[in-house]
């Protein structure tokens, strides 16, 4: 068996159409000026755009139709996230999609009520991190014998607008999922983070004293959590690949119009060749992302799927960090200013590269997956 393993890429007609539709939606509804107008607002996005996305069925894009989702397979979220990334459009879709996956994978159709609410547009998010480490057990919040939670979670995406929190908690050493509604939390329990990417939002959330609306227990919780983190890596990679393409287009546009020393700067190989490397890296990231979309399924993720998700994340992070960094540099003095979109790209790169584990996290695990079972 080759170390390359599975290299399948397939896209259903529905998914290909979705990619077109989603790209068109982002282009029409969320040009960069609209994104910029929300950089310093409280929620970071336009409620009307989110509402349109919900109406198109995107809130349940990754969920089966038996619980109100689109029923197109979990991989169908990939084209949507790529399109969102290509417009740097925030919105709580990533948080909601992953919270939906975590609940679905832990409880299946028995959680249809929660999942139905998500598909209908209730914002949900996973509260995972105790501290900064995506690779830690993250069981610092306890579910006590009296049914209350104690402890806080950090860097919870979209916590400020979430209606439903899925908190990973510790019950006698085992992971459980505590579902908490927003109205069970006080105003003071949510302390916003100052994120590097102004299109994104997150907060620390103190769950102390809160009684969850429901607790999901059992053996399925650990594997649901593992798979949700892998899907988080894949969906973030899709979004990042889209953003890298947007960044590449911004660079090439500038290289085609800006003159220095009497020549278009795009004719200089010192700028041209690194731009080609961004292009190649972006295409690689997209190949991994599409491959990931092909091999993930509604059932527990296979080893092939795990490898695909991790490679997608590493590949997308690498190219986005490079693209954002070079975008600032290649735009010269203008690139260093707030006005230049390079600001958005380099900030997105630095945000994305840690989400659901950075390159170090995934490469270490890939080394074992690829080399230790030959």
């Amino acid at each position: 068996m080759s170390v390359i393993q599975n290299v399948s890429i397939g896209l259903s007609e529905e998914q290909a159409m979705l990619l077109d539709v989603a790209r068109g939606f982002v282009r029409d509804q969320a040009p960069i000026e609209v994104v910029r107008s929300h950089l310093e607002t409280e929620t970071g996005y336009d409620a009307a755009i989110w509402q349109s996305m919900v109406e198109m069925g995107w809130a349940g894009i990754a969920l089966p139709d038996t619980v109100g989702g689109a029923g197109m397979g979990v991989g169908s979220a990939v084209p949507v996230f790529e399109a969102l990334g290509s417009g740097l459009l925030g919105t709580p879709l990533l948080s909601t999609t992953l919270a939906g996956q975590l609940i679905w994978r832990a409880a299946g159709e028995s959680a249809a009520d929660w999942l139905g609410r998500l598909c209908g547009g209730s914002v949900a998010t996973v509260a995972l991190l105790d501290q900064a480490d995506w690779g830690a057990a993250n069981l610092g919040v306890a579910l006590n014998a009296d049914g209350t939670l104690s402890g806080a979670k950090h860097y919870v995406s979209d916590a400020g607008v979430a209606d439903i929190f899925v908190a990973v908690a510790n019950e006698g050493g085992a992971p459980v999922l505590a579902i908490v509604e927003r109205d069970a939390l006080s105003e003071a329990a949510i302390a916003p983070n100052t994120l590097i990417d102004l299109t994104k939002r997150a907060a620390n959330v103190d769950f102390s004293g809160v009684v969850p609306a429901q607790v999901l227990r059992g053996e399925s919780v650990a594997s649901a959590l593992r798979d949700t983190l892998l899907l988080g890596a894949l969906f973030t990679a899709a979004e990042t690949a889209g953003a890298a393409d947007k960044c590449l287009r911004s660079i090439t546009e500038y290289l085609k119009t800006r003159k220095q020393f009497g020549k278009l700067i795009g004719s200089y190989q010192a700028l041209k060749h690194p731009t080609v490397d961004i292009y190649v890296g972006m295409e690689n990231a997209r190949s991994f992302v599409y491959h990931g979309a092909t091999v993930v399924g509604d059932e527990a993720l296979s080893v092939d799927a795990e490898v695909a998700c991790r490679m997608a994340k590493v590949s997308a992070d690498d190219v986005m960090v490079y693209a954002g960094d070079r975008s600032v540099q290649f735009h010269g003095g203008f690139g260093f200013t707030w006005e230049c979109d390079s600001t958005l790209f380099i900030r997105r790169a630095q945000w994305a590269q840690q989400m659901y584990g950075g390159a170090l996290h995934h490469r270490k695990r890939l080394a074992s997956l690829l080399l230790d079972n030959r």
């Binding site: 090439t252 190989q269 041209k272 080609v276 292009y279 295409e283 991994f288 599409y290 890939l366 080394a367």
Partner: protein, 400 residues
């Protein structure tokens, strides 16, 4: 399973069985790693016989028309043969310039007479082809070709010199790009394309020794060589278009090649298998965290290349940069292989310093030789740097 799938699967079995019986054993002398390194008569005779055997069995140029020596099948059949050649570590199919560039070019743009005259002998190995594009002063800048061809009666008289002529000392014919007019506004319009004989008076090929220590390249000198005017392919002054089409076949941008087995196939698994035999600090090399991390990068590169091959077949996933994946294959693939071979050659402790010929060299110095040999791929057919310009200009639309 569809009928087609069943047929291909049966064919794969048939070919595998044939290979099992017919792939020649190690001849006891060094065989070239690629078609760029055929340097001795002994190698030539051996490889010519092997190619003839493969063609006689009906396994070469399978998708070429039967009237010109092919089988008229779907290209999928040749792809299967090539895969099996790789799997069986078969010697290379060496007449590559004929099989992969000239043959497809003739089938595409040649006259019926040209096809009838040349194509079958390319497949059988009876006639060997070489390419006369690059010149000593003009490697990457083909438009600047200086070799002159002057019409004189029924002949053209050729003077000048070509370089990096792979197989030039053995070849029967050359695809020759020469200047027939020095007074054109655009330098490209003065070029003509010839199917030129090699074994005539006034043509001499001088072998050039390479960084590998082996031969295979030549410098070819033309001194008042008279070639018949009937050797002109296309119009006089129309050579640039034909040459560019040839490069499409050479770079694999356009399909139609008779066999992809022009070099020893080295996979990522070969690399890992080799490294798995080695030690570092008294421990298995593959337990070293730095090496493990490096290998993750190599595997990802190899996998990304395979994935992009799959993606090319799905237009919906290429809609925004339609030619991008195809035009960047050479840029990515050849550089990945160069670094992969250098890496493997350099992780052998003191044995890293040994070369082909030393009894203690790891796998006979295979990786060291393969690394050096790989420059043929990163330089030939347009250097990596020229490839980057092509992607920049044709895919991203950046200015020249």
């Amino acid at each position: 399973m569809s009928d087609n799938k069943a047929a291909l699967s049966a064919f794969r079995k048939e070919v595998a069985a044939w290979m099992g019986e017919n792939v020649p054993a190690d001849p006891g002398f060094l065989l070239p790693l690629t078609f760029l390194e055929v340097g001795t008569e002994q190698q030539l005779d051996f490889l010519r016989e092997w190619q003839h055997k493969l063609w006689s069995a009906g396994y070469l140029g399978m998708h070429w028309p039967s009237e010109y020596g092919g089988q008229g099948t779907d290209p999928a059949y040749q792809y299967i043969v090539d895969k099996e050649l790789g799997k069986h570590n078969a010697p290379i199919i060496f007449n590559t310039i004929g099989l992969n560039w000239v043959g497809p070019l003739l089938l595409d743009m040649g006259t019926d007479e040209e096809k009838a005259k040349y194509v079958k002998n390319i497949l059988s190995g009876e006639e060997i082809w070489c390419q006369g594009f690059s010149e000593p002063d003009h490697g990457s800048d083909l438009g600047a070709v200086q070799t002159r061809a002057v019409r004189d009666g029924d002949d053209y008289v050729v003077n000048g010199s070509k370089i990096w002529t792979t197989l030039g000392n053995y070849a029967d014919h050359m695809i020759l790009l020469a200047r027939t007019n020095t007074n054109t506004e655009r330098k490209y319009d003065g070029l003509s394309f010839f199917l030129s004989p090699m074994k005539i008076e006034g043509v001499e090929a001088h072998p050039i020794r390479k960084v590998t220590g082996e031969y295979g390249f030549n410098q070819t000198f033309f001194t008042d060589a008279r070639i018949p005017a009937s050797c002109l392919m296309g119009e006089e002054g129309g050579g640039w278009t034909v040459a560019m089409k040839t490069l499409e076949y050479e770079r694999g941008v356009t399909a139609g090649q008779a066999s992809g087995h022009w070099g020893v196939t080295i996979q990522i698994d070969d690399m890992i298998d080799e490294l798995a035999q080695l030690e570092h600090d008294g421990e298995p090399l593959l337990s070293d965290p730095v090496v493990r991390d490096d290998l993750v990068s190599f595997v990802m590169e190899a996998k990304a290349l395979s994935l992009s091959g799959r993606r090319m077949a799905i237009p919906a996933l290429n809609s925004d940069y339609p030619m991008g994946l195809a035009l960047s294959v050479k840029y990515r693939g050849t550089e990945y292989e160069r670094r992969m071979k250098q890496y493997t050659a350099s992780k052998q402790g003191a044995q890293s310093a040994l070369y082909v010929g030393d009894a203690n060299a790891v796998r006979g110095g295979f990786w060291q030789r393969a690394y050096f040999s790989n420059f043929g791929a990163t330089i030939g057919g347009g250097t990596t740097q020229v490839q980057a310009n092509i992607v920049a200009e044709h895919v991203l639309g950046l200015p020249k």
